[in-house]
């Protein structure tokens, strides 16, 4: 009886494991398509977090593009599970060098730490294009390399949103910023963009704290902020996930009607909130185009059709009026 019970439990456990493996197997299948065809250039797309909707969109865009241009190049798309896992990304790039790909399009997990390994790749004769998160200019200079950057200007995007917000406020109104992870380059740029526009419009930034890109953390931070600043007029969030948390906090505090919320990234949930009027505006960096632009640019360089230099991708303001 005992033995039966144990084996019963084991059977259930094995079954559950098997199901998990099957599920993840289904998801993993897509990865395995890129058999190398001779003659075609092989482009490696080294991504940041696979857990982030933004990068997911970016990667999907690249895969779609490759599917439509099967004859032009092969794509090897790789990402790291955690946005901050610099080591893993470092290893990924080295793997790509070992596989002798023709070009690497990289969204660096860290704007300084990934410069060295990118230089290794260039020394190995690989074309490197930097997307999304721009390499640190000083570090590039120290290493004596120049790597072309293709991507959005986060600071400009944030400025666009904040300028739109300024139109709804009066000079002297108090606003607060919810930052992303304080050490991340795009988080810093977005914060600066918000600050540029708010200062220019003579608003008062009374508070700025990090919620690490997280919804539930943003809820707690915003909840505390609105208690502290009874006359707060607007909250600028460095991404939409945190904007969702901000809305939840404001709703719970009964302040949703007198505090405006600005987001960034244009995720679908944020669009719903804009329709409801809970979020004022967000910013679309056209994630699906960033990686594609980077790949096209890399192919151009390979063919000698372009000289390496920075290239900015589109950044658009999105308001309730734009969605229908």
């Amino acid at each position: 009886m005992d033995r039966l019970r144990v084996s019963g439990i084991r059977a259930v456990a094995v079954g559950a494991l098997a199901m998990g493996v099957m599920l993840s197997g289904c998801a993993g299948k897509k990865e395995q398509k890129d058999a190398a065809a001779p003659g075609k250039p092989r482009v490696a797309l080294v991504m940041k977090s696979l857990a982030n909707e933004f990068f997911k969109t970016m990667e999907d865009g690249a895969r779609n593009h490759q599917r439509q241009h099967l004859d032009q190049y092969d794509l090897i798309a790789q990402g790291i599970p955690d946005e901050r896992d610099i080591n893993r990304q470092h290893d990924l790039v080295q793997q790509m060098i070992a596989q002798k790909v023709d070009a690497i399009v990289i969204a660096p997990a860290d704007s300084k730490a990934m410069v060295g390994v990118s230089k290794e790749a260039m020394d190995a004769g690989i074309v490197v294009v930097n997307i999304d998160n721009k390499f640190d200019a000083d570090t590039l200079a120290q290493e004596g390399v120049s790597i072309p950057f293709v991507g959005p200007d986060n600071r400009k995007g944030a400025r666009l949103a904040a300028e739109y917000l300024a139109q709804k406020l009066r000079p002297g109104d108090k606003v607060a910023i919810i930052e992303g992870i304080p050490t991340a380059f795009n988080a810093i740029m977005r914060k600066r963009g918000f600050e540029d526009a708010m200062t220019a419009a003579r608003m008062v930034i009374v508070d700025s704290q990090s919620a690490h890109w997280e919804t539930s953390e943003a809820e707690k931070v915003v909840s505390g902020m609105v208690s502290r600043h009874a006359d707060l007029k607007a909250i600028l969030c460095a991404n939409d996930s945190m904007a969702l948390g901000a809305v939840a906090a404001l709703r719970s505090a009964g302040r949703l009607d007198d505090v405006l919320v600005v987001g960034f990234d244009n995720i679908s949930a944020a669009q719903e909130y804009m329709k409801e009027g809970a979020i004022l505006c967000t910013v679309d960096q056209h994630a699906d185009q960033i990686a594609v632009e980077g790949i096209i640019y890399a192919l151009d360089i390979l063919e000698g059709a372009a000289t390496p230099q920075d290239k900015e991708t589109r950044v658009d303001l999105v308001t309730a009026g734009d969605i229908e």
Partner: protein, 318 residues
């Protein structure tokens, strides 16, 4: 009541300090909103207390929470299922994760640290797969749940309090609770006393998974959405709260009510630091210090008792 003196003292001190230093801290509104933000942590703390009492650990609660809310979101949004069905599916997901944790731990006698560490990864991966890495927005579909409140306290908070009270009663007044303490204190002696430790442990881990799903519901109703990254690092916050409450990581000792005090301490501290406008590194530094300080202050509750304690504290309220 002496066993709660230390905890109450820590909570009162924190409130006093922040009332003096942080603008607009000492208001009913602050406490109401803080209360409404902690139901998921309270619920997880109940499950975690149980798991620690049987000398296990569950590192997967954050991921299981994310998976459960993902299932809820996908059922409501993508498959347009009715709310009760979606809730049942969500609870089922948490229950299943807990059952897998429990059965792997029991059937192969694996350390729960390893099993649940694996589940932490696996459930997070499943969450990304289930959601397609997209935030699920379902506020309009759960309006019935969000509208209920008593004196400004939300339904999830009231449910969390009920679960904590029930959890405490089960722990100290039922045969099951007594068996948990016995197993955590000395598993072999419990087995030789005719108790089946495997069955109890399986139930405890499954319950912890189910409670993670309940916590997911509590969080989702408030945020109106399910993010694939929800609950990241939650396990450590919950374990910290439970340990502040005096539950032993070695098993056999702990109470649910004290764990809830641990949750309250961490919540008030977090809220206070936000209202002070502290910088990120400062917040982390102070949180770390307070966790240690709370444990030390609580240690002195022993001096309220007459006899000095020889070694470990016995489980106070059996």
């Amino acid at each position: 009541m002496t066993e709660y003196v230390g905890m109450v003292f820590v909570v009162a001190s924190l409130i006093a300090i922040f009332s003096l230093t942080a603008p607009n801290f000492f208001q009913v509104e602050t406490f109401r909103m803080t209360a409404n933000q902690i139901p998921e942590v309270i619920i997880l703390a109940v499950g975690m207390t149980y798991v620690l009492i049987v000398a296990g650990i569950d590192l997967s609660v954050g991921s299981v929470l994310a998976l459960s809310s993902a299932v809820l979101g996908v059922c409501l949004v993508r498959y347009q299922l009715p709310l009760p069905v979606a809730v049942a599916a969500s609870l089922g997901a948490g229950l299943a994760c807990g059952a897998v944790n429990g059965s792997l731990t029991v059937a192969w006698r694996l350390p729960s640290f390893i099993v649940t560490l694996a589940m932490l990864q696996a459930a997070r991966g499943l969450t990304h797969i289930v959601t397609g890495q997209q935030t699920q927005y379902f506020r309009p579909m759960i309006r019935e749940l969000t509208s209920i409140s008593v004196l400004g306290l939300s339904l999830p908070f009231l449910i969390a309090v009920a679960i904590a009270v029930l959890g405490q009663i089960v722990l100290c007044r039922t045969v099951f609770g007594r068996y948990m303490v016995a197993i955590g204190t000395n598993e072999e002696a419990a087995r030789l006393s005719g108790i089946d430790p495997r069955r109890i442990k399986l139930v405890v881990f499954t319950l912890c998974g189910l409670l993670a799903a309940v916590a997911a519901l509590a969080q989702s109703t408030r945020l109106g959405s399910a993010t694939p990254t929800a609950g990241t690092g939650f396990e450590l916050e919950v374990i910290a709260a439970v340990v502040i409450g005096g539950t032993s990581l070695m098993g056999g000792r702990g109470t649910v009510i004290r764990s809830v005090f641990g949750v309250i301490i961490i919540a008030i501290l977090g809220r206070g630091l936000i209202q002070l406008g502290a910088a990120d590194p400062t917040k982390q530094l102070i949180t770390g210090c307070v966790i240690v300080a709370a444990v030390i202050v609580d240690h002195y509750r022993h001096s309220f008792r007459k006899a000095p304690l020889p070694t470990e504290t016995p489980s106070p309220s059996l």
